[in-house]
Symmetry: C2
Subunit: 496 residues, 2 copies
């Protein structure tokens, strides 16, 4: 007789394959699709999502989950069952009318946001943002009840399973206390010894692309299972056997695409390294969540690519790629440009030191808005206060203020903290890898990344979702997320 | 109360959208996908095909079809219902075990064929081809019974709905009688006045691609709803809102990719022109079948692109694209190279005059094999006899003989006749268009294709599958398929 658990595995396997097909349609939409087919692509995606949802919200699924829970299961099977239940909650908890209303509200608000941002006109987006936030709070309340957590945590759980605001505050608070003073010291040090100017270019796209591919290959990207293409917003898409990253090229600045490619390669290496075989299409075989995913991209972009040893290896390659010569191209110049700090209004342009401030501000604000302790009317003012306090800046308008990011206006609430939690996890994992591999940095200086990748595979990638983020991090580094490691990293790099 | 017919429309709409998603996955597989993801892509396609099949083979579908048949329907609805029933027969007629056995036999035989063709070793493919043919004959028998037609016609119906071998013989017989004598005359004329040699090149891929895009644009290809890419086997894929054609480039021969692009553009223009709105995702809104589809590609490749008026327009463009100069690049030289005739062993390399011989030989042979009046052991001998009789050639081995085409070895029986029926339909449609549009050829000489395209849209594209191929052709040209028009075209072009 087939176990209820095995019947669940069959269903979730099929849902996962449909998900992979969807990831290809999304990739194509961002990279290849002609403009005129947006509407038909949207319908294809809606139909496949509907079929995916039908599997996860099947009426007999709760009974199967209960029956499987009473069966004799191995550890990984039990972890898989827990992930299946989480999937089911997120898929089936909401009444169809709410799902539909949410989709419509998201589409309407995102459209209004594009225009409001262009005009730096926050009030213009309120008539669509207010109902959207109302629906998001409804979603949060329903899922909170099902998951037995706070409403904000229920939203967070969509991106970072098991994530809890209380735990986030425990690591954000010390960082928030540390950042303003540290930033002032870094800026003062930089004022005394300014980073060298970037070479003016132009840097031809074909050369940038060739350099990106060389770097990806060095980092362990497998081109028989992936691609590099161009899209307006860089991302890592596809699935474990076919991981597709994108970038965009600026002929005046080679570093932006190169570091972006390294970032997305970090995401891709996580996908490549996930457990295969029986776990490949099971929830337990997926990447753990956005915190660890971001930790893998930032580990390569921030911890590796901007480190002195790796720059020693990469600087001559980069110089050669553009036939560079002179003082702008020395290893030292490249290293110092890579760690230049410059407070600004825009999160996606922020350096490693100021980035957490952007995230902390947004996290505080979205928590208050979800909890209902702040009104949307007060958002621009509260935003400005946050920037003055943490970065010493006053945004001149809302376009470079609370209208800059798409997240809230497209319905993604509870996502922001994963960026900085990922940066902290990256510092902690790299620190642990250095301890475990005494030759690591000497190897990086020769471009040898394989030992680090092997360590990450064993410590993180191969574990899939078999434990929580905290459990995986503790197993890999000896302790849960610890802001002190990130702070120590910042001190060492920026105030040596 | 909802009509049974309307419920059917909803289901077939969803199936069509899934089909569009599948077409994108197929396109990606042929153009973009890294080699290592073949297996996972195969699984994605299998899962989506399974979902598509579930809709068409739903247990209550026959009852819905019967109930809808008793309802008050408009003409297009009734035609749609007939197409739905055909879809259902092809999807649901076969027992699942037979479908599975067939898929396995096709995969095994195609694999054996690749090696057998490389080694020119027909006996090596027999152990997999014999069981495959057995299963195909089983399929033919079951569908023949359901459709009330002969077994071969049931296979033909998969590609050319309503196609009948008897009707094909009626047009192939006179062609077969005509071809050998005509070919001898053409070759004699060519011997007296040989076509000029092709310029040696090289023709850089980027210039070929730019020329292809310019030509596609001239012919009416809408790049906001389609793309041009590279694949090993050129094809037209995607769907009406996103039609993607491919080609391959030979730097020693610009004409091959250019004419291939024009051919696939013909297919694409048919897809672009199909009825939209309510019929877009209904069976009645689809292209009528492979005969009319091939007629559209061949109309542009053979009737338009190789005509004197169009060459008068295109020759200077082509010369300029490659900075050509001298006698090899004159309009006359380009025209005469476009209509050079050269009997050979390989169908896909054949010219317009000898191509039908290749098709007639294959059609005769596959009919005999399906009927069981010939054994597979006798195929190479019968193949050689056909080539001697129709083309005066004896294939030196089976690699350039009966092993050259993938069709039979991948399970596609009943497909071959559509190529030549399409060529004949193309001649007949172009002839009708010339009569309907007295300025047509004068316009083509100035690169004006729009009047022809508009005529084709009204006569063929916009009709979808609202009538049979014979009905659409009769409405457009005044009579069903008439080999005399094709023969007259050949005489006029090749023995002026």
């Amino acid at each position: 007789m087939t176990r209820a658990y095995d019947r669940l595995e069959t269903r979730f396997h099929q849902a996962s394959v449909i998900g992979d097909a969807l990831s290809m349609l999304h990739w194509d939409m961002a990279t290849m699709m002609p403009d005129g087919s947006a509407e038909s692509r949207a319908e294809q995606i809606a139909v496949l999502r509907g079929l995916h949802h039908q599997i996860l919200a099947a009426p007999d699924l709760p009974d199967l989950l209960d029956a499987a829970g009473a069966e004799d299961l191995e550890d990984w099977e039990r972890a898989n069952l827990a992930e299946m239940r989480r999937d089911w909650v997120h898929a089936a908890a909401l009444p169809p009318a709410l799902v539909e209303a949410l989709a419509r509200a998201e589409a309407a608000c995102e459209m209004a946001w594009r225009e409001a941002r262009a005009n730096a006109d926050f009030p213009a987006v309120l008539p669509t943002l207010r109902p959207l936030l109302g629906l998001v709070r409804e979603v949060a309340a329903i899922k909170a009840e099902r998951l037995g957590v706070d409403p904000y945590d229920a939203l967070l759980d969509q991106y970072e399973p098991g994530g809890r605001a209380a735990a986030i505050e425990a690591v954000f608070d010390p960082l928030e206390a540390f950042l303003p003073g540290f930033l002032a010291e870094v800026l003062e040090a930089q004022r005394r010894n300014p980073p060298p100017a970037a070479p003016p270019g132009p840097f031809p796209v074909e050369r940038q692309r060739a350099l990106g591919i060389e770097m990806m290959t060095r980092l362990g990207f497998d081109f028989s299972h992936g691609r590099l293409d161009v899209s307006h917003h860089p991302f890592c898409g596809g699935h474990a056997e076919d991981t597709r990253i994108t970038t965009r090229y600026d002929t005046a600045d080679y570093a932006s695409a190169l570091l972006g490619v390294i970032h997305e390669t970090g995401h891709a290496l996580y996908e490549f390294g996930l457990p295969g075989g029986r776990w490949r299409h099971q929830p337990v075989g997926r990447a753990r969540g956005m915190v660890l995913h971001e930790s893998q991209s930032l580990l390569f972009e921030m911890q590796v690519a901007r480190s002195r040893p790796f720059v020693a290896f990469a600087a001559p390659l980069i110089r050669a790629a553009f036939d560079g010569a002179g003082p702008d191209w020395t290893e030292e110049a490249q290293y110092r440009r890579g760690i230049a700090v410059s407070p600004g209004f825009i999160r996606v342009e922020a350096d490693e030191v100021t980035y957490p401030a952007h995230v902390i501000i947004r996290t505080r604000l979205e928590r208050a808005l979800i909890a209902g302790t702040m009104d949307l009317d007060d958002l621009p003012t509260a935003w400005g206060e946050g920037y003055r306090r943490l970065l010493g800046l006053t945004p001149p308008d809302d376009a470079v203020g609370c209208l800059q990011d798409i997240h809230w206006y497209s319905g993604s609430w509870g996502y922001f903290p994963t960026y900085t939690l990922g940066a902290m996890a990256a510092a902690q994992l790299f620190d642990a890898a250095r301890r475990a591999l005494p030759e690591l940095e000497a190897g990086l200086a020769r471009g040898e990344v394989r030992p680090l990748l092997d360590w990450l595979r064993g410590a993180i990638h191969q574990r899939g979702s078999s434990g929580s983020t905290a459990e995986l991090l503790t197993a890999a580094t000896g302790r849960p997320l610890d802001p002190a490691v990130f702070v120590a990293h910042l001190r060492r790099r920026y105030l040596p």
